[in-house]
């Protein structure tokens, strides 16, 4: 599998994990009780959080596979592409308001990843 296919898997799985986490955590409300047993009990009993962990594991294994074939100095910055995908999906699916400054930041990240690809 080539490195861009692995990056696509990492970004896709990371985005899916973060979207599920963000959606479920917003539904739960702000965390005020940080006791680990309460946190685990509250969060890991929820289907979206379990799915989120599964996607996180997929992302982790794809990242390991990427590190096997690509430079660290390429792999870590390239995964920042998830910022671009997450912002777009946060706007569409989570209905977050994305300010011009945030779009500008996302464009800079996208340009940065494009430079990595050259």
């Amino acid at each position: 599998m080539n490195r861009w296919a692995l990056i696509a898997i990492i970004v896709g799985a990371t985005v899916a994990s973060d979207m599920l986490q963000s959606w479920e955590m917003k539904r739960q409300g702000e965390v005020t009780d940080f006791r680990i047993d309460r946190l685990l009990g509250t969060l890991l009993g929820k289907l979206p959080m379990i799915a989120s962990v599964v996607f996180l594991a997929i992302s982790f294994y794809a990242f390991l596979a990427l590190l096997q074939i690509a430079d660290l100095s390429f792999a870590v910055p390239a995964t920042a592409l998830s910022i671009v995908a997450e912002t777009i999906l946060a706007r569409i699916l989570l209905r977050e308001q994305v300010t011009p400054a945030r779009w500008a930041g996302v464009v800079l990240v996208a340009i940065g990843v494009w430079f990595l690809a050259l």
Binding site: K26, G29, E30, T32, F34, Y61, F63, L64, A65, L67, Q68, D71, L72, S73, F74, A75, V76, P77, A80, I83, T87, L94, R95, E96, Q97, V98, T99, A101, R102, A104, G105, V106, V107, L108, V109, A110, I111, G112, V113, W114, F115, L116, L118
Partner: protein, 136 residues
């Protein structure tokens, strides 16, 4: 974030350093392990075996520290503070690759990394809550 108290400022600086260092060292350990013996060939057993490689195991342990220290930092510091200051990790990862993994980093890759840091900082400077979600 109320950072006026000297104690809180010192704690914030300490945890920011921990978050950045654990991220960089954790990724470095994973990278070292995956290039020096750990193998993932697609078989089911290799997915189990790879996480018991000593370097990968060390990387996972350090990254667990990264997750916990980042969660702790986020419990008192703004996300809009945490994202930009920890994005320096992108550059430090590249420096680690250059210094210890003998990676050849082209000017274009350095430039791309700097663009990503700039973009991350810009994202971090924006409001952390744009949906008006009530907090308890």
């Amino acid at each position: 974030m109320n950072s006026s108290a000297p104690g809180l400022q010192a704690k914030t600086r300490l945890f920011t350093c921990i978050v950045v260092l654990t991220n960089v060292l954790g990724n470095f350990a994973l990278s070292w392990g995956m290039k020096h013996g750990a193998v993932m060939d697609g078989s089911a057993i290799s997915f189990v075996r790879v996480v018991f490689d000593p370097w990968v195991l060390v990387g996972i342990a350090i990254l667990a520290g990264w997750v916990l220290s980042r969660m702790a930092l986020l419990s008192w510091a703004d996300l809009s503070y945490v994202i930009p200051v920890t994005s320096v990790g992108f550059v430090l990862n590249a420096i680690m690759g250059y210094l210890f993994l003998n990676e050849q980093i082209s000017p274009m890759r350095w430039l791309g990394t700097l663009f990503i840091v700039g973009g991350t900082v810009l994202v971090g400077l924006t409001s952390v809550n744009t949906t008006g979600v009530p907090t308890k």
